[in-house]
Every structure is written in structure tokens, then in C-alpha cells.
């Protein structure tokens, strides 16, 4: 677009919408960088939190569900089993939780300056990848050094549940952040819902248990919940299971994720015109 043309501000079409985001992509980098930096400013342990957080989480879960409750773990050490489940789950839950607050928390930005509003949930989702990577490295280290299990997973297969995880998280994030602007109770409810969703997902228990106790039919319904495919997909890759990826779980997950993503984007785009007036 030449600078000598008069251009009219207003509703942009999808192409303009995304090209504007592309033009301002540096800002997204800055927002991610800020998000990360602010997290560790003024903390005693600093970056060490990245390791402490998942480790403590997993140790507690292992003690409660592995030792006390004696839940089965697909023949894996329970610690590794739950860590593989927490890897995607912690990403999903922390990004969704922060995403629900990100528009409210940046209300001064929203009411004072124009920038692509989607950058705010995006920046949370991207910054969350750092935690994800650290947890992944932690998993590999524990697996190799504590349990002498050499990992040999295919990167390509790893990408499948990862893409599903990112898409579902982004979709949830767009829904929650935009809803939280209009309905202030969303932020109180989010943590509660996430907690229920966690026990609904096969984080601390194996899918086989559901088939065993409830019946095979339950699994085909259950697979519509995308985190099922995500978690089982990661476990399949990380534990170098035989055969192909669990497509019977991933497939429905991709379909429902697509719906969440598209409706989330549509809802966000519809509501974002009013963010500055309402937030």
C-alpha cells in the first residue's frame, strides 16, 4: 500500500487482518519477551521455577495417585507416566488460565493504543512454550538417567499431538479471554473448570482404565475431548510405543479442536471491536 493513498480505516477483511498482524510482528515478539521477563522479575529462584514447578507437581501426583491410589500406568514408571501427561496438560492449563486474564490485565494498553488484540493471547501461548520445552527436557533427563530408557522418538510424530495441543489451547484462549471481558466471573470460574478438565483428561490415569471399567464404547465418545488425543499422542511418542499414532483418539480431537479454534477466532474478532469500550 503506497503511503500516498488515502486509506480508510474500518473493518478489515481476513487478509488485511492477518497482514496487519504480520507487519506488526515485532510487537508480538516484544510482548512475549515482556511476559517472560515480568514472570521472573523479583523472584528469588528466578528461572529455576521453570524446573521446580513441574517437578513438584509431578512428585505430588506420583505420591497421591501412584503410591496411595495405586493407579495403573500402562506399564511405565508412574512418575514418567504422569510427567508425560503433565507436559501437554500444564501447557494447556497455564496458558488458558493466563489467557483468560490477559485482556483484562492489559486494559490500559487496550484503551490507549491500537494494536492487533490477538497478540495478547498469542503472546501468552508463545511464552508458555518455554515451560513446555523445559518440561520436555526434564522428561528426557529423568527418563534417560533415572530409568535408563533411551528415547528414540520421531520428530514428525511428535509434531502431530503438538499441533493439536497448540490449536486447542489457542482456541480455548481466544474464547476465554474474550468472554472474560464481557463476563467478569469467567476469571473465577476458569481455574475451577480447568481442575475438572484435568481429572477428565487421562493425565493421572491411563485411557485403558476407562475401557476396562466403563467399556470400549466410552473411548470413542471420550476422544472428542481433544486433550485425550493430545496426551495419548504424546505418550505414544515419548514411550516409543509400537504401531502408529492413536488416530482413533487424535482424529475426533482434531475435528472438535477445529470447531473450537474457528468459533473462538470468530467470537474474538466479533467482540474485539468493543474491547476498548467495555474492558
Amino acid at each position: 500500500m503506497s503511503s500516498n493513498e488515502m486509506r480508510y480505516l474500518g473493518r478489515s477483511n481476513l487478509f488485511q487482518y492477518f497482514s496487519e498482524m504480520w507487519v506488526q510482528r515485532e510487537l508480538l515478539v516484544f510482548l512475549v519477551w515482556k511476559h517472560v521477563k515480568v514472570q521472573f522479575a523479583q523472584t528469588a529462584l528466578g528461572v529455576a521455577w521453570l524446573i521446580v514447578r513441574p517437578l513438584l507437581n509431578v512428585i505430588v501426583l506420583t505420591f497421591v495417585f501412584g503410591r496411595l491410589a495405586q493407579l495403573p500406568s500402562d506399564g511405565q514408571p508412574y512418575l514418567l507416566f504422569v510427567l508425560a501427561g503433565m507436559l501437554p496438560w500444564a501447557y494447556f492449563s497455564s496458558v488458558t488460565n493466563q489467557g483468560a486474564l490477559v485482556l483484562l490485565g492489559n486494559s490500559t494498553l487496550i484503551t490507549k493504543i491500537f494494536f492487533p488484540r490477538l497478540f495478547l493471547p498469542f503472546s501468552v501461548a508463545i511464552a508458555g512454550l518455554i515451560d513446555f520445552l523445559v518440561t520436555l527436557v526434564l522428561f528426557i533427563l529423568i527418563s534417560v538417567f533415572m530409568y535408563q530408557q533411551m528415547l528414540s522418538f520421531s520428530i514428525l510424530e511428535f509434531l502431530v499431538p503438538l499441533v493439536l495441543l497448540l490449536s486447542f489451547t489457542m482456541g480455548a484462549c481466544m474464547w476465554m479471554s474474550a468472554l472474560a471481558v464481557d463476563f467478569r466471573d469467567v476469571r473465577h470460574v476458569t481455574g475451577y473448570i480447568l481442575q475438572m478438565l484435568m481429572f477428565a483428561a487421562p493425565v493421572v490415569w491411563p485411557v485403558a482404565l476407562l475401557a476396562d471399567r466403563v467399556g470400549e464404547w466410552a473411548i470413542s465418545w471420550f476422544a472428542w475431548y481433544p486433550m485425550v488425543g493430545v496426551i495419548e499422542g504424546f505418550r505414544h511418542v515419548l514411550f516409543s510405543r509400537e504401531g502408529s499414532l492413536p488416530w482413533e483418539l487424535l482424529g475426533p480431537g482434531f475435528i472438535s479442536t477445529f470447531v473450537v479454534l474457528v468459533t473462538g477466532f470468530a467470537y474474538f474478532r466479533w467482540r474485539e471491536r468493543q474491547f476498548a469500550d467495555v474492558v
Binding site: R11, K112, I113
Partner: protein, 425 residues
């Protein structure tokens, strides 16, 4: 050079009053309302929230700004200035109408947007500049200039929560001052900072304007507007009520919108008084001449009240009441002359001239109310509320009460007091 930089066409913005209340209600309440709707309809009750009052923050506004012009926008609070700027900066969308823009646009509606207290000055400069739309390479290139402009070299790596407000403002404005957009939108950001720094900011904006860029500038400080802008829009209740050269617009604003209306008169029918009394006019004078513009803090201000007693035998004692811009009482003054107190005035025309001494009121806007009544127990026969107003400014020349101090002096008054200081040991 007659190219347009900004074109605003039939712009309107309507807010639904009370929208905020319904919106921030909880999800469950909304669901409840939705669920009750069919029940209410069956019972024949009107659905609530049908006749929501509408507020037209902007009502069908159009104007053009040629490239290179510095345009001022003035008006009361709530006149629609801020809404206009928010729409121009794309923060919120208009209800109808459209805006055309030529070139890169940056807006500065607040100093230090996105500053984070836990981050260092350096980090905040980068973040703030990126938010304001400056590319990273340019920030790196201009970083030293920005820090030098703010005079913050030694603190730049300290978290800004340890900065004073003044330091934050300086840093934030330094960033903004180094934006190089084709069109710059500025809202009232110069009201902060010390006088010296404000001056440098003004110079900077002036330089931006002179370099052929287009500037849209909103301010309450009329002297700043008159210094920076060639043309000024006066807004009132969502309309542009005047669009002319800055001096003419400021005069219009002062006279018509009563912000500093130095003269008010009433016909006998309009007079806010009893039939036996007519208030004719109230006027603010400097050395016998009607005031035009702001008044130097050092000068005596005269208020002249003219009225008529239409009947014999009433005690008519005029009284002056001064309020500051927030509506607080500054003082009340009665004519103490015993010749007029507790005496019945003969029929006739009267004039009272009351002088507010120089070096008494602080800088700011003052509104004047005049009443006429009995003296003791005060009983008002006539009351002209907010009938005239004036503003006091400090030219920062010698002879004021601030000595060499350049900061802001708080409080409604700043009288010239007698100070006697000496060394006692």
C-alpha cells in the same frame, strides 16, 4: 501541499448508557435474564432494557486536515474530544461514518502506555516504543537520543518502580518524542512534568509540526494550543461548533462556551431576581477594560456589577462568590461599606466594583457567582450562578510569588505573604 492527511466523514459514536452495567453483570445473571425472557413475555411484561438511553458522544462530524497542519481540538470535558481521538487512533470503532488517513499514524493518548514497574528503564523504552509502532532497528538507532532527551543515563537500568513520577513521565515522553510518524495524535499529555521539561516537549512537538508532519492536538491548556496550532476545532456535545484559526477559535470558546466568559448581561425579563430588583450586567475588567483571555497572576482583577432598584426601601447588598474549576468555594466577599449595609436603598441604578488583588489567586480557572440580598441574616433576592469566569496564568516573569521556583504551586491561592527570615545564631 493541499493534500489531505486526515479526512473524517460523517463520524458518529453512540454509547448505550448503562451498557457498562449490564455488561459487567455476571454470566449467570445474563443467563438468568435470557431464561426469564420467554416467561416474562408470556406474562405480558415488557422485556427489560428496551428503552436504553443513548449517548451521542460524536454526532455526525466531518472535517479535513491538510498534510503538514497542526490542528488543535478544544472543548469541555465530555464534548467528544477523547472519543474522536480514540476513533482516529483505531482504539474503538465509530457507530457510523468513516476516516481516511494518508501515511503512518501514531497516537499518544497517554504517556508511558504499557510501562511495567518491574522492568528496567531500558526494557520499558523498547517495549513502549514497540507498542507505539516503532520498528526495533529504529529503536536501537535512537535509543541513546531517547535516553539523553529524558536525561536518564544513570538510571536506565533501574526498574522503573524506583523512579519518581516525574522521571517516568520524562522517559515516556522521550520515547514518544522520537516517534516519526506522518500523523501524530496527542491527547493532553503535557499536563504532567515540570515546567522546564514541558517546555522542551513543546519545542519538540513544534519541531514535528514544522517538519511538515500533521499533528492533531487535544488540550485544555489554551495557551499551548495557541502556540502550537494554526487551526483549532471547538467541540461541544459531540458537535464541531467552530472551526477556524486558533486565536479565533479560542475566542469563540471563551465567549460562547463560558469557560472564560468575561461579560454577562440580562434584560429585565431575564434577570435572575425579584421584580423590585434587576441585575443588568456582570463584567470582569483589567484596568477598566473588559478581559480578553487569561489574566496574569500578578494583576488586580476587577468585577463590576450593575443593577437597578426598581422600588424604594429594600436593603440590597451585593456579594461576590468565587469557585475554582472543580466547583470548590474559594471565597465569598460582601461589600463592607457601612453606607450600604442595613440601609434601604433609594430607587435608582447602581454599580459596585470589587477588586481581587493581584498575587492572590493561584493559576487556574475561576467562576464567579453574584448574589444580591439582605446583609444580616443573608437573604438572596437575586442569584446569578456561574455568570462570568476568568482564568489566571503565570507568565513566569519576575514579580510573582514563586521566587525562582519553577514547579507547580498547589492550592487555590498563592498570596503574597510577608516573610521575614534572618540568621539567629
Amino acid at each position: 501541499m493541499d493534500q489531505l492527511a486526515v479526512r473524517v466523514e460523517n463520524l458518529s459514536k453512540v454509547y448505550r448508557l448503562g451498557e457498562h452495567i449490564t455488561v459487567s453483570e455476571t454470566l449467570f445473571q445474563q443467563l438468568g435474564v435470557l431464561a426469564l425472557k420467554p416467561i416474562n413475555r408470556m406474562l405480558g411484561r415488557a422485556p427489560s432494557g428496551e428503552a436504553v438511553p443513548l449517548l451521542k458522544a460524536l454526532d455526525n462530524i466531518s472535517f479535513d486536515v491538510p498534510t503538514g497542519q497542526t490542528l488543535g481540538i478544544i472543548g469541555h470535558n465530555g464534548a467528544g474530544k477523547s472519543t474522536l481521538l480514540k476513533i482516529l487512533s483505531r482504539i474503538t470503532e465509530p457507530s457510523s461514518g468513516r476516516i481516511g488517513v494518508r501515511g503512518r499514524m501514531a497516537s499518544l493518548l497517554e504517556v508511558g502506555t504499557g510501562f511495567h514497574p518491574d522492568l528496567s528503564g531500558r526494557d520499558n523504552v523498547f517495549l513502549n516504543a514497540a507498542i507505539l509502532g516503532m520498528p526495533k532497528r529504529e529503536i536501537q538507532r535512537r535509543f541513546d537520543d531517547i535516553v539523553a532527551f529524558a536525561e536518564m543515563e544513570s538510571f536506565i537500568d533501574t526498574p522503573i518502580k524506583h523512579y519518581s513520577t516525574g522521571m517516568r513521565v520524562r522517559l515516556a515522553f522521550a520515547v514518544a518524542a522520537h516517534l516519526d510518524p506522518d500523523i501524530l495524535i496527542i491527547d493532553e499529555v503535557l499536563a504532567v512534568g515540570d515546567a522546564e521539561f514541558q517546555k522542551r516537549c513543546l519545542n519538540r512537538i513544534e519541531a514535528v509540526g514544522e517538519s511538515g508532519r500533521t499533528v492533531l492536538f487535544v488540550s485544555h491548556q489554551l495557551n499551548t494550543v495557541s502556540r502550537l496550532c494554526q487551526r483549532t476545532l471547538v467541540m461541544d456535545h459531540g458537535h464541531i461548533v467552530h472551526d477556524a484559526g486558533t486565536l479565533e477559535s479560542i475566542r469563540y470558546y471563551n465567549e460562547r462556551l463560558g469557560m472564560a466568559r468575561s461579560y454577562n448581561s440580562w434584560t429585565p425579563e431575564e434577570s435572575p431576581s425579584r421584580p423590585f430588583l434587576t441585575l443588568h450586567e456582570v463584567e470582569i475588567l483589567l484596568d477598566g477594560v473588559r478581559v480578553d483571555g487569561a489574566i496574569d497572576v500578578r494583576r488586580d482583577i476587577d468585577v463590576r456589577i450593575r443593577f437597578s432598584a426598581n422600588e424604594e426601601g429594600h436593603e440590597l447588598s451585593p456579594c461576590l462568590q468565587i469557585f475554582d474549576s472543580s466547583g470548590n468555594w474559594v471565597f465569598v466577599s460582601l461589600d463592607p461599606d457601612p453606607a450600604w449595609q442595613r440601609t434601604k436603598r433609594p430607587k435608582g441604578d447602581y454599580e459596585s466594583l470589587v477588586t481581587i488583588p493581584g498575587n492572590l489567586l493561584n493559576e487556574g480557572m475561576y467562576s464567579v457567582s453574584v448574589s444580591i440580598g439582605t446583609h444580616d441574616v443573608y437573604y438572596k433576592y437575586c442569584f446569578a450562578h456561574d455568570c462570568v469566569a476568568f482564568s489566571v496564568y503565570d507568565s513566569m516573569e519576575p514579580g510573582n510569588t514563586r521566587g525562582g521556583y519553577t514547579g507547580e504551586l498547589p492550592g487555590p491561592v498563592r498570596p503574597a505573604l510577608r516573610w521575614q527570615s534572618r540568621r539567629i545564631t
